[in-house]
């Protein structure tokens, strides 16, 4: 019986062995992609979501352009409902790597009282994430947007290209994707088209954590287990940061040892019960726990083929 790789302690090529291990192979491939973007596009931007994948992508960007600085700005689409720790972490990171940070919020929607319990998760995501992202890309006149999505996250993402073309309204047509052979990336765009680029396409969740471990990349502390006050709703654990999150009949407020497996907006991202308070413990937990990471993201399950529909509309 095969088991998932035992990789808490990953051998890393430090001494010159003439074969790169899988992590350094992925690293080299991602650096190649980042450099192609800078070579081929006028105004690239990196979507920085503050999560673990973004943190890895940021480190890869530092490596790709060393000894120069990162030659593009970072863009954070802030719904204003992100965890508070994420915002503090974001500002620190941008300062420490010396990158320009653009923060964009759909202020009109916020002023109209948009929040998931008022308008539903689909409409809330549509306004605060998808529309805000498209507006921000247009405002910055960006022709290429780098994102940290991975193909192993969700089954429609498994079919995503590294260079993924979007039409003039930012939408994805999965049936009109360009073939991508070898490592030859076609950067040509027709007028009005733009491109999303996914340098982490071939990384898995465990690869990300192993890389964070060996590279000692800083992460938002929400990923690590500690005692937190949460609303227990069925099998979901919700961190009550926003006052509009209602307490429903049957809800219990408890203090539990838990952590976030993926970071999004606090009302729509559940915590998991966990004792993993270090990165190696997270890797061990991942090997043992068999729940896919996006399960805790309510927005993926709000309609049939949910992620594919959001991607078609312009979400990452």
């Amino acid at each position: 019986m095969a088991t998932v790789l035992d990789t808490t302690h990953v051998p890393v090529t430090a001494a010159p062995a003439l074969r790169l291990d899988h992590l350094r192979t992925l690293e080299a491939e991602s650096i190649h992609i980042l450099r192609e973007v800078v070579a081929e596009f006028e105004r690239p931007v990196m979507l920085y979501s503050v999560g673990k994948d973004s943190s890895v992508m940021l480190r890869l960007a530092q490596k790709a352009f060393f000894p120069g600085p990162i030659p593009f700005p970072l863009l954070h689409v802030d719904t204003t409902y992100k965890f508070r720790e994420m915002i503090a972490f974001r500002d620190d990171m941008a300062r420490s790597v010396g990158a320009r940070l653009i923060v964009h919020t759909n202020q009109d929607a916020i002023a109209d009282g948009t929040q998931p319990f008022a308008v539903g998760t689909q409409r809330c995501c549509g306004l605060l994430k998808t529309k805000a992202l498209l507006d921000a890309l247009q405002a910055g006149n960006f022709d290429a947007a780098l994102g940290g999505a991975r193909r192993d996250e969700e089954r429609s993402r498994a079919k995503e290209r590294v260079f993924s073309i979007r039409d003039a309204s930012g939408q994805w047509d999965p049936k009109r994707q360009r073939p991508e052979l070898w490592h030859l990336l076609n950067a040509r765009l027709r007028p009005g088209e733009s491109i999303r680029v996914f340098p982490l396409s071939n990384w898995t969740e465990i690869d990300i954590w192993q890389y964070i471990h060996v590279e000692q990349i800083p992460i938002v502390p929400l990923y690590l287990a500690k005692e937190r006050e949460v609303i227990v709703r069925g099998s979901s654990l919700i961190v009550p940061e926003q006052s509009f999150v209602p307490v429903l009949p049957g809800d219990k407020v408890e203090t539990l040892r838990c952590r976030m497996r993926s970071l999004g907006c606090s009302p729509c991202t559940g915590a998991i019960r966990s004792d993993a308070d270090t990165v190696p413990k997270i890797i061990e937990e991942l090997i043992a726990v068999r729940q896919s990471e996006r399960q805790l993201r309510i927005i993926d399950h709000d309609q049939d083929a949910s992620m594919e529909m959001k991607k078609r509309e312009g979400y990452f």
Binding site: A2, I31, V38, K63, A158, K159, L184, E193, D304, A305
Partner: protein, 436 residues
């Protein structure tokens, strides 16, 4: 043994390819519980047993509705011994391009065949595409053995037919049932006559020694990095070979040489670097090098030329036509190009390719990275063709019917450009080329 094996799969419609992959992912525990739950729910009314394994991989809504796979899906799994990247490519005739896409980066191909149907024309075609794209290691997965009562003769007949099709390639044939799991993870009691390892065990242990570092040093320059006046470095990925500080390297197409001064990375300078590392290289002499040029070892130079023979897989509904100008991307250089023949969608053929600016290349059989290119239709920007360089134009001038005259070539270039500025640039470049 390498820690990462890249696999592609191919088979005809209904050979059960998605089912086999779903089974492998499930049995290797690469599929998560919540995906199993949602697939189990969706499997109702589809008549493929309690779990329809194809639902793990058929990611797009249209595919789930039609019950077929229409696009390449990449899957990731690991066992105790290896990590795998698997490109699941569709078996439909009209999607040959996806097969080529999956095969272009694969170390090994799994060719699937339905034991009850035998070898079909599609199977031969897939084997041919995989071989054309440079794959030399194969698994022939003879599926649905349960439908032929695990008959040994059926297995041997199909196995021998494939050995014949694949010529000298290395090939392991396995009798299996993806639906029931026979010989996927471990040996099956239904095939006591089969002694070879099951599918996953074979994939874990097979040695596909594509030793990139044993080939000559090739380094296509991606970016020239000048963060300040002191530093001038060439950023790129070593596609093959090894480079050491002090090595004499030659920049192509200029042919000027210099010594490697530093190999720079964010993690510190290296004394030596090898494929497939991404690094930055500085030289001890200032020579004019820009994106698209190539550094290579002084002892085994690449070819430099404007004309070559290539095997081309055509992937666009608009056929390839002589006289039309395409953009050709090869390593990190994009040039204007013409082909001397017509190719229809999914057609594979040998053509002479003429380019406006010399390319630095190797034959594909010697080097996948410097021997491959894509053709882009400048009107639609679609990746219309995939090419593998087979030989030099000069040595193969046996077809006198396709000289592209200077005037005709310039006119094509101008017509093919999307703007006046681009036309002027393309014509100027071509003129310069012709006059120097």
């Amino acid at each position: 043994m390498s820690g990462l094996l890249r696999i592609c799969t191919a088979g005809s419609v209904d050979d059960g390819k998605s089912t086999l992959i779903g089974r492998m992912l499930h049995d290797a525990q690469a599929v998560y519980e919540d995906q199993v739950t949602s697939v189990r729910a969706a499997s109702k009314n589809r008549g493929a047993g309690p779990i329809d394994f194809s639902l793990f991989t058929d990611g797009l809504k249209a595919e789930r509705e039609q019950g077929i796979t229409i696009d390449v899906a990449y899957r990731y799994f690991a066992t105790a011994k290896r990590k795998f990247i698997l490109a699941d490519t569709p078996g439909h005739e009209q999607y040959t391009r996806n097969m080529a896409t999956g095969a272009s980066t694969a170390d090994l191909a799994i060719l699937l065949v339905d034991a009850s149907q035998g070898v079909k024309p599609q199977s031969r075609r897939h084997a041919r595409i995989a071989q054309l794209l440079g794959i030399t290691d194969f698994v022939v997965a003879i599926n649905k053995m349960d439908l032929v009562a695990f008959n040994r003769d059926v297995y041997e007949r199909i196995r021998d037919e494939f050995l014949d099709i694949l010529g000298g390639a290395r090939c392991h044939a396995i009798p299996l049932s993806a639906l029931q799991g026979d010989n996927v993870m471990g040996p099956s009691p239904n095939t006591p006559w089969f002694e070879g390892p099951g599918l996953l065990e074979h994939l874990e242990t097979v040695d596909v020694a594509h030793d990139l570092t044993a080939q000559p040093f090739r380094f296509p320059v991606q970016l020239v990095m000048r963060p300040d006046h002191q530093f001038r470095g060439y950023a790129g990925q070593i596609v093959t070979g090894i480079v050491r500080v002090g090595d004499l390297v030659t920049a192509w197409p200029s042919g000027r040489s210099a010594h490697v001064k530093r190999i720079v990375t964010h993690d510190g300078d290296l004394d030596m670097a090898f494929a497939p590392m991404s690094v930055a290289i500085t030289l001890d002499e200032e020579i004019d090098i820009s994106r698209g040029d190539q550094l290579s070892g002084a002892s085994s130079p690449p070819h430099v030329g404007n004309r070559f023979q290539a095997e081309i897989v055509w992937m666009d509904e608009r056929p390839a036509q002589p006289g039309r100008v395409y953009l050709l991307k090869h390593t990190t250089r994009t040039v204007a190009a013409e082909v001397d023949r017509t190719l229809a969608l999914n057609q594979i053929g040998t053509a002479t390719v003429a380019v406006t600016h010399p390319l630095v290349f190797d034959r594909y059989e010697n080097n996948r990275a410097t021997g491959s290119f894509v053709l882009i239709d400048p009107a639609t920007c679609f990746t219309a063709g995939a090419g593998m360089i087979a030989g030099l134009g000069e040595s193969d001038r046996t077809q006198p019917n396709s000289p592209i005259s200077a005037a005709a070539r310039l006119a094509h270039l101008a017509r093919g450009a999307s703007s006046d500025a681009e036309a002027i640039e393309a014509v100027e470049r071509a003129l310069e080329e012709m006059l120097t």
